[in-house]
């Protein structure tokens, strides 16, 4: 029997029993829709969870710190054992840069003493960060106004930081001042240190603000970012001696990786070099694993619904074979092989699964859209309250899911039809022909 004839006959047999086929397929429709909706829901939850994490921190960066403690110094081991202190020196930075997929290694340093920013009558406390890069963009920061280049005597400031400027002479009840527009303005950074005999010493530095960072829920929001050389000079003044980077290394470096997929591998390589590496991606990975479990559980619930549908298909096929016993006998009498009969009935069962699968994908998609329409505004308002970016979908259907669902439903049909079809195929023709 040619495949085309087989398909034609299967289609014919299904279409002449439309009502029965439709009723049986409804079970499959519901099961498939359940699988599609539940897995999409799990997927949507995962996406909004990871996108919120991603919003908080840049997923392609790794923070690396020196290893000061002696590694493996377990109980019973001498405290004065061989030192395994690992410092972030220039040569180490070169080693890290050489790791595949690393696009940039950016040293960072912080002001090791107190400081305050003055502008006109306003002042603000700031996280002063020195960055060893040409531009803040290298760190993954986005500039809202101005430029991000880091030169001596200039600085870039986070936008939310502007709202921190206060008038120290402000009386209670007085309106707080408008956030100043600092772009291309000179600000004073007043650095304070104490000498050994308790004397307070101040140093005032003039800085021109060349860029304002877009609010992005990361460290940059509340930072004043300056050139690394400026930072080193101020720190040397604060501690009263020269800093030798070749010997002491950096406090911290940020390693940028070409893609999120490679972040964990690069972090592992850095840990293997003996440093402490922290990556937001490992948190994201944990969240992903959690949601994969949720999707599997949800998918399992849907699969149970499909199993119930499978019993319906098996029942319908068994009925069909009883009703069409004489027809089976006739088909054999006019030359159908056992395999032809088997293929026809298997095909009909798979056809019911396929039709139900298509319907289920359609229904699942519709319900998913409805859930999105209802839930998205709510989720968005929740996100706004928590200060996280709004999710793009509550229910998200990945492309593979409908394809998988239809194939799965068809397979379910095929398996359900296996026993009835085998019985039909092995009927003795005479017995089938005499069946009343």
């Amino acid at each position: 029997m040619r495949l085309l004839d087989l398909l034609g006959l299967i289609f014919y047999n299904l279409s002449r029993r439309k009502g029965r086929v439709a009723l049986t397929a409804i079970g499959v429709v519901i099961g498939t829709a359940a699988v599609v909706i539940l897995v999409s829901l799990g997927n949507g939850l995962q996406r909004s969870a990871t996108s919120q994490l991603g919003g908080i921190s840049d997923l392609t960066s790794i923070m690396v710190f020196p290893q000061y403690e002696e590694q493996m110094a377990g109980p019973g081991m001498s405290v004065s054992g061989p030192s395994t202190v690992k410092l972030l020196t220039e040569s180490v930075i070169a080693d890290i840069t050489a790791i595949p997929h690393v696009t940039a290694v950016i040293p960072r340093d912080y002001l090791r003493t107190m400081s305050v920013i003055n502008y006109a009558r306003l002042e603000a406390w700031a996280n002063v960060m020195g960055v060893g890069a040409q531009d803040v963009a290298d760190l993954g920061y986005t500039v809202k106004e101005g430029v991000g280049t880091l030169e001596r005597g200039t600085a870039v400031i986070g936008e939310p930081m502007l709202r921190n400027f206060m008038d120290p002479k402000m009386r209670p009840g007085q309106e707080p001042p408008e956030p100043p527009d600092l772009l291309d303005q000179q600000v004073k950074l007043v650095i304070t240190k104490y000498t050994n005999d308790g004397q307070e010493v101040r140093k005032t530095v003039q800085l021109r603000i060349v860029g304002i960072l877009k609010e992005s829920r990361n460290e940059g929001d509340y930072s004043l970012i300056v050139n690394m050389n400026d930072m080193q000079g101020w720190n040397e003044w604060a501690i009263g001696k020269r800093i030798n980077r070749a010997r002491e290394g950096y406090e911290q470096v940020t390693v940028k990786v070409d893609s999120v997929d490679n972040v964990l591998a690069v972090a592992d390589s850095i840990t293997a070099l003996g440093f402490q590496a922290y990556t937001p991606q490992s948190a994201v990975q944990g969240v992903s694993n959690f949601y994969i479990i949720i999707q599997v559980v949800f998918g399992g619930v849907g699969a149970v619904a499909l199993l119930v549908a499978a019993i319906g298909i098996a029942n319908t096929m068994a009925m069909a074979i009883l009703e069409r016993t004489r027809e089976i006998g006739l088909m054999k009498a006019i030359g159908a092989t056992n395999r032809d009969v088997l293929s026809i009935f298997l095909g009909e069962a798979a056809g019911i699964g396929f039709i139900g699968g298509l319907g289920g994908v359609g229904l699942g998609w519709l319900v998913g859209q409805a859930i999105n329409a209802v839930a998205l505004p709510y989720l968005a308002s929740q996100a706004a309250q928590m200060g996280t970016p709004p999710p793009d979908a509550a229910v998200y259907t990945p492309l593979w899911l409908p394809v998988f669902a239809v194939v799965f439903a068809t397979l379910i049909g095929l398996i359900s039809g296996l026993y009835p079809a085998l019985r039909a195929a092995t009927l003795v023709p005479v017995v089938a022909l005499k069946y009343e």
């Binding site: 004839d5 088909m331 030359g335 395999r339 017995v431």
Partner: protein, 238 residues
């Protein structure tokens, strides 16, 4: 006996049905030769084993013992697949209940066997249309079985049996569900098939069919008997 050059050779054929604890000997050692191109009528009372013999000959069931040879083909040595091919190529079946598929129209019913032999749908359609024309039934091309008389349905069934142009036609009481006149036409049609050169075997218990036969076979309780023995047995029964 084995050296006859008959087309169909049946030797020592037995079919035993197990009914609970009792055995029913539907066929109890049948030897029969059927020449090529003959019109054989198999006559016997109800339950004598006529249908059983015909279906064994048609490869629709397996004998308990014995041998059936059709041309060069030995049915015992064939597997299910080979039997299906044998039925498809060599045989055309005609049944008492017509066995048309009720959801198919006349054209579809006639061409149904061709779905299993790989013919194109165009070839199927042409062949079925030709047969309908030969039977003078073009008017009924789109009719369903339920929209036709018994005689018309049996004519459609005959056309279906002919669609693969088989050398052998097996008919089990083809006139059993028809009135005398219609039954007569159907027998006439079968006789025409015989005249075309086909080997026709018809099972019946209607003695009037004898006039079409080139050969009469009588069966009583699963055994072939002579006409004299048969007539005597029927007479004593009444």
């Amino acid at each position: 006996m084995d050296e006859t050059n008959a087309y169909i050779r049946i030797r020592g054929l037995r079919k035993v049905y197990q009914m609970g604890h009792t055995k029913v000997h539907a066929l109890d050692g049948v030897d029969l030769d059927i020449p090529r191109g003959s019109f054989t009528v198999l006559m016997g009372p109800s339950g004598s084993g006529k249908s059983t013999l015909l279906y064994l000959l048609g490869g629709l069931d397996r004998p308990t013992s014995g041998k059936i040879q059709v041309g060069e083909q030995d049915l015992n040595s064939m597997d299910e697949n080979a039997l299906a091919v044998y039925r498809r190529r060599t045989l055309g079946f005609i049944f008492q209940q017509f066995n048309l598929v009720s959801s198919m129209n006349t054209l579809e019913n006639i061409s149904f066997p061709m779905r299993f032999n790989g013919s194109s749908s165009k070839a199927r359609h042409q062949r079925a249309a030709r047969l309908l024309e030969q039977l003078g039934m073009e008017k009924y091309t789109r009719h369903r079985p339920t929209e036709m008389s018994g005689g018309q349905q049996q004519r459609v069934a005959i056309a279906r049996a002919l669609v693969n142009d088989p050398p052998v036609i097996l008919a089990d009481e083809p006139t059993g569900n028809l009135d005398t006149a219609t039954g007569f036409t159907v027998m006439q049609m079968l006789s025409d098939l015989h005249k075309e050169g086909r080997t026709v075997v018809v099972v019946t218990h209607d003695p009037r069919m004898a006039r079409f036969a080139t050969r009469m076979i009588y069966i009583l309780d699963g055994r072939l008997v002579s006409k004299e023995d048969y007539d005597q047995a029927i007479a004593t029964q009444e």
